[in-house]
Symmetry: C2
Subunit: 249 residues, 2 copies
């Protein structure tokens, strides 16, 4: 991926997409996904890693509930990465990540990920450019390890929302009783660093582009869910998986 | 390290080394090591990874007992890697290894290691040259990750014994009641593959040479222990560690 400019990419569904129609399509895809995940588990050959990144309130939790939640939880694991513990900090930054990479047959979802180690850390200048460069190299080698040595297919999604949409959603958290638990004063401070985050993300798409990132227009949840469900379905279908035959002695 | 030929390297101590004298020197180094390890733990900045490889009966366990055992066990962890479990096999080959890399302040000893994944696997042709090449690249990137992102200093020791010495030691296991528990019929089968193992090791020294391997003449345990204790002592001394001052609010 060459340098992309997030401000030039729409955060909304293309005009030709109708909400009701798209929701129906998504529902059909989710049924397919359930079957494909079962086949992935049965074949026990490939593994899937889904990385979900995005600004605060970009809808990461919603994707996990509505898309990933449609599959058998026995084969789907979700790990949310928060600020590292002191034990985690006493190891290299990929140590805690590696521990959660998917076994064969499994789908692992990362709610935030090792990418935070070149995003929040950079925006706050906790690490300098030289350190960032070394982390980028380590991330690329790490993803190659998973792909080449465990048949891990990595899908990376950036949930792309507009600044206005973010402001609205953060404010809703202050007023909607069902969302107050997500309210965090700090989020408003982070939101002020919008431009710095966007440019750190752009840099990350350019430098860690193999496998490629998918930029998901996410102001409308129905479109975001469609794009992600479809990308996962297409990838799983492309694996040409088969149920294994009867194992005999 | 350029291509080295193990058959040209002596498995015995150089003539100028006297056994009794060397043992005294080793004892003095072990006392230094105890202090240096305490400082490493207190400073909580560097971490040390010691990889011990060698043919069957080359004396890996003895090094761990006699050299590593001289330090405070709270700061020294030992992990023996055996044949991978089915859970481990369902991940990339470095997954189980990464889980045991040292935290800051710690010394981690690997009794066998990720190098088996390009040694035994190669000798038995469980993996082909293309796969070996990819594993070599992954190992180099992995060791760089530890060095660059967690101040991990890696010491790699190959315990170099002669074929005659190995035969004698394996036979001793059949007759010495204190060693019978180590006897494994399979070891004699593996011993027949001596030349294949030596050449797989030579290749591994050439391709994974950063940090460099130390070839330790190991037919005489007293010399082997001296070389390893000294290498560890020299490395720790080179870190110029200091006790941290009083932490104040």
């Amino acid at each position: 991926m060459s340098k992309i400019s997030l401000s030039k990419i729409s955060t909304r569904a293309p005009k030709e997409f109708d909400k009701a129609e798209t929701k129906e399509k998504t529902a059909a895809i989710l049924e397919e996904l359930d079957d494909l995940q079962n086949l992935l588990y049965a074949e026990n050959r490939h593994s899937i890693l889904i990385v979900i990144q995005g600004m605060d309130a970009s809808g990461k939790d919603g994707v996990i509930r509505n898309v990933m939640g449609s599959m058998n939880p026995q084969g789907v694991m979700v790990k949310s990465f928060k600020a590292p513990t002191s034990e985690e900090l006493s190891h290299d930054f990929l140590w805690r990540i590696h521990n959660h990479t998917p076994a064969k047959g499994m789908i692992q979802v990362f709610n935030r990920s090792h990418y935070e180690d070149i995003l929040i850390t950079r925006v706050h200048r906790w690490i300098d450019d030289e350190r960032t460069k070394k982390r980028v190299e380590a991330i690329n080698a790490f993803e190659r390890l998973l792909e080449e040595h465990n048949e891990t297919h990595i899908l990376k999604f950036y949930l792309h929302i507009s600044r206005e949409e973010q402001t609205q959603r953060l404010e809703e958290r202050m007023h909607n009783p069902a969302k107050m638990w997500k309210y965090n004063e700090q989020d408003f401070e982070e939101a002020k660093l919008w431009d710095n985050y966007q440019s750190a993300y752009e840099d990350c798409f350019e430098k860690c582009n193999e496998p490629e990132w998918t930029i998901v227009p996410s102001d409308q949840n129905w479109y975001k869910e469609y794009v992600i469900a479809k990308a996962l379905r297409d990838m799983l279908k492309g694996l040409k998986m088969q149920f294994p035959g009867l194992k005999k002695e």
